[in-house]
Symmetry: C2
Subunit: 298 residues, 2 copies
């Protein structure tokens, strides 16, 4: 059977059946980060992201920005769980023809971003490969009280995003700032029920929250902030690679956030009961179903 028949998420579900972990694993595969025991007050967050030339970046793009992105996507996963990044390992798959200078530029891009966020790059591995491949694994820490996952959204919650969406492929995906500070600000001052970073697209990533939390949602077309590079509503809904935070807070906290958030956080809809499905309210007031479409590898 080919992967495309069941898709990436179908495959992940099938593989998850094999896993048997011990009690120190608070959350295994299925969220932005795995969560494991650390000390009395904190959990450890673990995540990894593989980028491949021709899939996630092209040979012509600025190598420093490629390196930057390889690290930034994992930082964004740590942010989605409200964590603080601490350590990273970097595996490089290198075609024999790639120049030392290019590798150094990729590496410089990574290390600059690492320093900006207090992250330590502590090791790595190299292998020959047909296409340039960068796999970053990252370890973060989060106070138990401040861990946010996808699974606790409640009917009545207001849904927010941390910035305009759409058109990321036209540049932002190489330069986005992982929303680590914003996530820490949110969990320091507000109750955040569920959070995810938008990598595959608003529709698909919100769907992950709805599935994990067993709830429904309605989004308001007019309230979804579109970036300058955004082509249309569909691009904002499913273009992907925005790497903004998508999160839900109870109504009381939503009001507080609107007044204290310095205009950085956009309310776009609210969480409903599961039976109401996943809907978009158009400018004309009519509601249509949203299909959880977005970027798919297979």
């Amino acid at each position: 059977m080919k992967i495309e028949k069941i898709g990436e998420f179908g495959l992940i579900k099938r593989l998850s059946r094999f896993i048997k972990n011990d009690a120190s694993v608070i959350r295994g595969p299925g969220d932005d980060c795995a969560v494991v025991a650390y000390d009395k007050t904190r959990y450890m967050l673990l995540t990894c992201d593989m980028l491949v030339e021709g899939v996630d970046f092209t040979a012509r793009q600025n190598p420093e920005l490629i390196g930057r992105k390889a690290l930034a996507v994992s930082l964004s996963d740590i942010a989605a769980c409200s964590g603080v990044p601490r350590y990273a390992l970097v595996s490089l798959g290198l075609p024999a023809a790639v120049s030392v200078e290019k590798i150094e530029k990729i590496w410089r891009g990574m290390n600059r971003l690492a320093r900006a966020f207090g992250l330590n790059i502590v090791g790595g591995d190299m292998s020959k490969a047909a296409a340039l491949t960068i796999d970053v694994s990252m370890l973060g820490l989060v106070e138990k009280k401040r861990l946010v996952t996808r699974g606790r959204a409640r009917a009545g919650d207001i849904i927010f995003v941390s910035g305009p969406l759409g058109g990321s492929i036209r540049g932002k995906h190489l330069r986005f700032i992982p929303r680590l500070k914003e996530a820490r600000f949110l969990t320091a001052h507000f109750t955040v029920h569920a959070m995810i970073d938008i990598s595959d697209g608003l529709a698909q990533d919100l769907w992950h929250i709805l599935e994990a939390s067993r709830v429904g949602a309605v989004l308001y077309e007019k309230m979804i902030p579109q970036s300058r590079q955004c082509l249309c509503l569909k691009d904002a809904l499913s273009g992907g690679e925005d790497f903004e935070l998508l999160f839900t807070v109870p109504p009381k906290d939503a009001l507080k956030l609107l007044s204290k958030g310095q205009g950085k956080y956009y309310p776009i809809g609210f969480i409903t009961g599961k039976d109401l499905g996943f809907r978009l309210a158009g400018a004309n007031g009519r509601e249509t179903d949203i299909k959880p479409e977005g970027y798919r590898h297979f």
Copy 2:
């Protein structure tokens, strides 16, 4: 400049210059694992290994054994530092044509080995890729007193290996048992000054110990145990992928180890001053220089 001009180790040296880590990083890149602060009595060990089809395994090999190997090489790195493996992340680069059944077999091979060593596979990532690529990152723990690195071999130490060498490519590289129990046995009962796992070959990996410890060594040709699959002395010295432990202990502990080690540990030479170089004593008593040759990616 092409990578082959400076080699993998030359490239690693160049990249290391960019890294600036904080005080929690006890050892950054350059050993089998990175070592970072954990709690009062223990360190955390971090390592990753990337395997690529056509480089580290072939498309025809048993997928369960491929998965097994992908995990085993990182377990071997944890063993080399005398650690206990705890968590792993797995990134898969998948060609669209690879079947779900093959991926499941790879995954089953990983999970079986993980369970045998109390390792939790807690998450991962998937990407499209031209060649099947498996990157495993692993976290282990080690008591501060029992951490062993490459850098503390002393003149007079006896050099040991944990099993016969050579010919691994003819089968053992897919089925080897990571020497976790052996490493824990060694550091529970003996003083181990330096340790590494043999991945690139005895000559090259011992050279890493000599460089890190600033010492020399002499090996006795007749004492180097050759596996049944081993073709010749050169194969034992530089075939690579043996994944046995290579370690040095002071003479007093060497005698203890020989009597309590149940014949599992083979003394093969001793550590000398740096000025004496890296030599092999032949059966005829003549000494020749050993070149630190072994497997090289570039």
